[in-house]
């Protein structure tokens, strides 16, 4: 499976951040970027669309990100989808809670756009064991990223 075939769900209520995620993902060749600003819609959308990766903000209207993360991980249909938490909350406790709840990684806002773009590409390639060019081969099932951290 090529990176260009990846589907990414961006869960974020700040339009400026949604736009930069869309921009960064599209720069990596990923055109299927789904978005929601409502925490309560993340699980239903994920069940329906089966994204390859979820970028999840912790502070969203509808339902907070940590509860959403737990719901995703407790749901058989979505538990294997890797989730990167992207949050303005910097406390170590919050990072631990997110990682313990099953987050594949935790990125603190603000972040360096270029670095995040490169890291997202590395993350997806490592996760699905696929090169960035379109080879047409099937990817591995989703799971935790082998090593590395955003």
């Amino acid at each position: 499976m090529a990176v260009t075939s990846f589907r990414v769900l961006v869960c974020e209520d700040d339009p400026a951040m949604v736009r930069i995620f869309q921009f960064l993902l599209q720069k990596q060749g990923i055109s299927q970027v789904l978005t929601t600003s409502d925490g309560s819609k993340v699980v239903p959308i994920s069940q329906r669309e089966k994204p390859h990766l979820i970028l999840l903000d912790l502070m969203m209207p509808g339902k907070d990100g940590l509860s959403v993360l737990k719901d995703l991980k407790n749901n058989e249909a979505t538990s294997s989808i890797p989730v990167i938490v992207i949050s303005g909350i910097e406390s170590k406790n919050q990072v631990s809670l997110a990682i313990d709840a099953g987050a594949a990684d935790y990125v603190t806002k603000p972040f360096d756009s270029m670095e995040l773009g490169s890291r997202l590409q590395e993350f997806l390639q490592a996760l699905y064991n696929t090169p960035s060019t379109n080879t047409g081969s099937a990817g591995n099932p989703p799971g935790r990223i082998p090593g590395g951290s955003l």
Partner: protein, 106 residues
């Protein structure tokens, strides 16, 4: 050899438009000072906007915006925890920060 900087020019104009709207909403929130002082909707709105600009500013290359957003957010958190009085000094601080943001995005 250093990597080239990421060219955000395609989306930076839209970000500035969003940020100008946020600055306008911040001015509106501070104008409702009694609501701010009582931790009402205006206070929550200002905190949300400051938090968002803190997160997006440096991401779009505006480090100063993240610094101002962070300073405002921290002050609002103290206000909400009643560790700061909602006095004239605080209102002036907020107004000065908002006008600094307006200057950046003019």
């Amino acid at each position: 050899m250093a990597e080239p900087a990421l060219d955000l020019s395609e989306i930076i104009g839209l970000y500035k438009d969003d940020a100008r709207r946020s600055v306008g909403q911040m001015r509106d929130a501070v104008a409702k000072w009694p609501e701010m002082a009582a931790n009402g909707e205006a206070c929550q709105q200002l905190r949300r906007l400051a938090h968002q600009l803190r997160g997006s500013g440096r991401t779009y290359g505006f480090r100063g915006v993240s610094r101002i957003g962070k300073a405002m957010e921290q002050v609002i958190i103290k206000l909400q925890a009643k560790r700061l009085p909602a006095d004239e000094r605080l209102r002036t601080f907020m107004q000065v920060q908002i006008e600094r943001l307006a200057e950046i995005f003019k």
